[in-house]
């Protein structure tokens, strides 16, 4: 079985473009950035200022994408750049791709126009057929297909080993990484790019999430403290990709190894009473044999949606009796980005391990404690607002070979 290592990190969020621009999280210099207007009264974390031209040079390509796809293609480019293989077509022809993505953004104005007029139309169906035929734009259709994020990454960056897209909210993001790691571990492929992207200011997704009460209204707060307000996520614009390789492949080309992947578990409970708690306990029990003594970082993908956020947190509290743990809920800092959340948290964990640093607490709740020394092992958790419970262990590349 091959060791799987992280050799490239690409991250774009509300805090900055590129993983380096997230260094301020180590010393508490970075504060969360909010946009309270775009989808008021539901705040979001907007995308940091970005020049897409730098990694998507053709304007024609940019025009064919929606904002989430642009963010993703850019973040994928950053991961390749960080791994030293951007533009290396020979390498990229043998690089495999797994993208986690949802739908692209709808043309909300068209929907609103049709919905406003349809109830007074003489014949509802014919009115709908005619207005949709007139108003839909062909380019928009392509930008709405989830697999076109992957398609655009192939077109813009030349990644062509293979291309798969996973759909299905948070677990899709985790499973993209888990599946790529399994392919590398088995020796089926040597190098793969996996990740996802999400653009936050989207009324179509706000409607989907809001109908289930899964977004937070009003003043932002730490993901751990939203329970009394009914819980809810603050969506964030995020693009995150990891370049993964077998250790041999990475060492042969002299790549910088940021982190080493340990065990990964991805489960699926139906969220009946008590199921998440049982699932979480089971996941930790399976993870335990792989955990070393000493400090353990936990980078949580908790969305803030309840009751699952509280259930995930409770599983950490039980762990605390046996391990010195340092919990960080990135939802507080960069917001929640559905499919892109697990990749973003793996990107941040890889950065911390590479820099031999750890993040200052993201809130003042006391749940997140200062780490006296940077952990050399970090578990990234992914408990979706609707489905999916999983976690992945990352280790420092400086330790013994796993």
């Amino acid at each position: 079985m091959n060791d799987v290592v992280v050799t490239g990190i690409g991250l774009v969020s509300s805090l900055g473009v590129g993983v380096e621009s997230h260094h301020g999280l180590f010393d508490g210099q970075l504060q969360p950035v909010f946009d309270r207007q775009a989808t008021a009264p539901y705040p979001i974390h907007p995308l940091a200022p970005i020049d897409f031209d730098l990694l998507i040079p053709k304007k024609g390509d940019q025009r064919q994408m929606d904002q989430g796809q642009r963010i993703g293609v850019y973040a994928a480019g950053l991961a390749l750049q960080d791994g030293g293989v951007l533009g290396d077509l020979e390498f990229l022809q043998n690089t495999h791709l797994i993208v986690a993505a949802g739908d692209g953004e709808r043309d909300v104005a068209v929907d609103e126009e049709i919905l406003s007029a349809i109830s007074s139309a003489e014949d509802r169906q014919i009115f709908f057929n005619l207005s949709m035929s007139k108003k839909l734009r062909p380019t928009l259709f392509l930008a709405q297909l989830p697999n076109l994020l992957a398609g655009n990454i192939s077109i813009v960056h030349g990644v062509t080993g293979s291309s798969r897209t996973f759909m299905g909210e948070q677990p899709a993001g985790l499973d993209a990484i888990v599946t790529m790691a399994a392919r590398i571990r088995a020796g089926s492929v040597n190098a793969g790019l996996a990740g996802g992207a999400y653009s936050a200011p989207r009324f179509d997704m706000m409607l989907h999430l809001g109908l289930g009460g899964a977004i937070l209204e009003g003043e932002p707060a730490s993901v751990w403290t939203r329970k009394e307000r009914g819980g809810g996520m603050i969506c964030g614009s995020v693009g995150a990709f990891l370049l993964l390789e077998s250790r041999d492949h990475a060492e042969r080309r002299g790549a910088r190894i940021s982190a080493v992947l340990g065990p990964a578990f991805s489960e699926h409970s139906f969220r009946e009473s008590g199921e998440v708690e049982t699932c979480a306990a089971d996941l930790w029990a399976r993870m335990k044999p792989s955990l070393a003594s000493g400090p353990l970082g936990i980078i949580s993908g908790a969305s803030g949606a309840e009751p699952v956020t509280a259930q995930e947190l409770a599983s950490f509290e039980r762990l605390q009796a046996q391990h010195e743990i340092y919990i960080r809920g990135t939802g507080t800092m960069i917001g929640h980005a559905l499919e892109a959340t697990a990749p973003a948290n793996l990107a941040l964990a890889s950065l911390a391990l590479r820099e031999q640093k750890y993040f200052a607490p993201f809130d003042e709740t006391g749940i997140e404690k200062d780490a006296p020394a940077p952990p050399s092992q970090i578990v990234v958790t992914s408990f979706g607002h609707w489905r999916g419970e999983g976690m992945i262990l990352l280790r420092s590349a400086r330790g013994d070979r796993a």
């Binding site: 989808t39 008021a40 539901y42 791709l97 949802g102 739908d103 909300v108 609103e112 919905l115 406003s116 349809i118 109830s119 169906q125 014919i126 709908f128 057929n129 005619l130 949709m132 035929s133 839909l136 259709f141 297909l145 989830p146 697999n147 076109l148 992957a150 398609g151 655009n152 192939s154 077109i155 030349g158 062509t160 080993g161 291309s163 798969r164 897209t165 759909m167 299905g168 909210e169 985790l174 499973d175 599946t179 399994a182 392919r183 571990r185 009324f203 179509d204 706000m206 409607l207 989907h208 999430l209 109908l211 289930g212 009460g213 899964a214 991805s266 699926h268 609707w386 489905r387 999916g388």
Partner: protein, 423 residues
């Protein structure tokens, strides 16, 4: 001790198959109609097509009472196909399938009917905005969040059949069903499981999806009679016909399948994939990505091109696809293409989009089993640029041991699978 393939990996057996298309439910019904050259395409009755450019499809209205949305139909189709496959594999008893689920599903979106219901909650006459719909219904419609989550169909199938772990919902456009099969094969070869359930399903024919494909000028306009619209490889082909359907395959480690006494229906011998960099809806004119996928499948199977007996084509009936597929086949199989039979199931069932790769995988295995090649119907005027044996119009009795099935998707995602008769 595993029985291994030519590359020393655990051999992957198929022990159960299920299918539902516009031709009908079950393998028996589909096979009877496929081998008698019948078409499932007809005029759309689900909604009025007045004002639309396209009026025909291989839609399925025999599964659910009228009023269903795409998610509900995609689930019903997948459930039906999976139940048939699991029955055949002898695994449908305990609803505890001993492995993961890989399911190709169409992307989910809140249905228009639901949007209109939400709009109706606002005061009459006021402009309808998303912001107003959210505020008025905030937290009150958890059922809608559930129903239109991307993972919904996979979640329901996982619940229904008790598959293990996180269900993987796949989209590689029109190659999705083939990717689902490939992921199941990977999981068994990697030793992660002894069994996997691979499904492709698509029940997404609605007004908006029809308009979207019309806008790409991808659909056939030869609408009358509808049964003759899909004419893969023929000179006057002008587009594909949208269709619905689902297919399921029970994949197992050959040895554990045999140990439990399961009947082996066939072997998945090879899977190849390659992505294209050329264009969002067109293949590179040199055919390199399609050639790459086919060659990778052969390489993965440890086979030479001469070992393939028959090709189940992607064959969508668009001018572009069939031309490119022909070019790629010529590049790989050379002069042999003049004699190697290749036919398109889509001539009869239309293009089941997300499901197509799985539907055609099932039909490929039925082809091996029955020793009959389903025809390419509506083949009246050959395309001089494609001088192939397309099994024109009439099924042909011919024993085949190794079948290649091609799937090519928008966004340049190409997959080729090779199936083999049981050893």
């Amino acid at each position: 001790m595993n029985t291994c393939d030519r590359k020393g990996r655990p051999l992957v057996a198929v022990t159960g198959l299920g299918i539902v298309t516009s031709l009908g439910r079950s393998k028996a019904e589909n096979w009877a109609k496929l081998t008698s050259g019948q078409s499932g395409v007809g005029f759309i009755k689900r909604f009025t097509t007045e004002g639309l450019k396209a009026h025909i499809a291989g839609s399925i209205d025999f599964m659910l009472p009228a009023g269903f949305n795409s998610q509900e139909l995609s689930y019903a189709l997948a459930e039906d196909a999976a139940r048939e496959a699991l029955d055949e594999a002898g695994m449908n008893g305990a609803n505890a399938f001993p492995g993961p689920l890989f399911i190709a599903v169409p992307p989910a979106e809140i249905s228009w009917r639901t949007r209109e219901d939400l709009a109706a909650t606002l005061p009459a006459g006021s402009p309808v905005t998303y912001a107003a719909m959210i505020q008025k219904n905030f937290g009150k419609r958890r059922d809608i969040l559930d129903a239109f989550s991307m993972g919904r169909v996979g979640d329901l199938i996982a619940q229904r059949f008790g598959t293990r772990g996180s269900p993987i919902s796949i989209s590689t456009a029109c190659a999705s069903g083939a990717t689902a099969v490939q992921m199941g094969v990977d999981a068994i070869r990697f030793g992660l499981t002894n069994a996997a359930l691979a499904i492709g399903t698509d029940g997404s024919i609605n007004v908006e999806s029809v308009i979207r494909f019309s806008l790409l000028s991808a659909l056939s306009m030869h609408e009358d009679p509808p049964q003759e619209a899909s004419r893969p490889f023929s000179h006057k082909r002008d587009g594909f016909v949208m269709a619905e359907g689902a297919a399921a395959l029970v994949l197992e480690n050959f040895d554990t399948a045999r140990a439990r006494g399961a009947e082996i229906l066939g072997i998945v011998a090879g899977c190849g994939e390659r992505a294209d960099t050329f264009h969002r809806t067109r293949s590179n004119p040199d055919g390199s990505a399609i050639v790459g996928a086919i060659n990778n499948a052969l390489e993965d199977a440890g086979m030479g091109p001469d070992e393939i007996d028959y090709i189940n084509a992607h064959g969508t009936s668009t001018p572009e696809n069939d031309k490119m597929e022909a070019l790629a086949c010529m590049a790989v199989f050379g002069e042999r293409m003049k004699a190697l039979p290749i036919s398109s199931n889509k001539s009869m069932i239309g293009h089941t989009l997300t499901a197509a790769g799985a539907v055609e995988a099932v039909i490929s295995l039925l082809t091996i089993r029955h020793g009959v090649l389903p025809p390419t119907i509506n083949y009246r005027e050959p395309d001089p640029a494609i001088p192939f044996d397309v099994v024109p119009n009439i099924a042909r009795a011919q024993k085949v041991n190794r079948v290649m099935s091609n799937s090519f998707g928008f966004g340049g995602q190409n997959v080729s699978l090779i199936f083999q008769s049981p050893p």
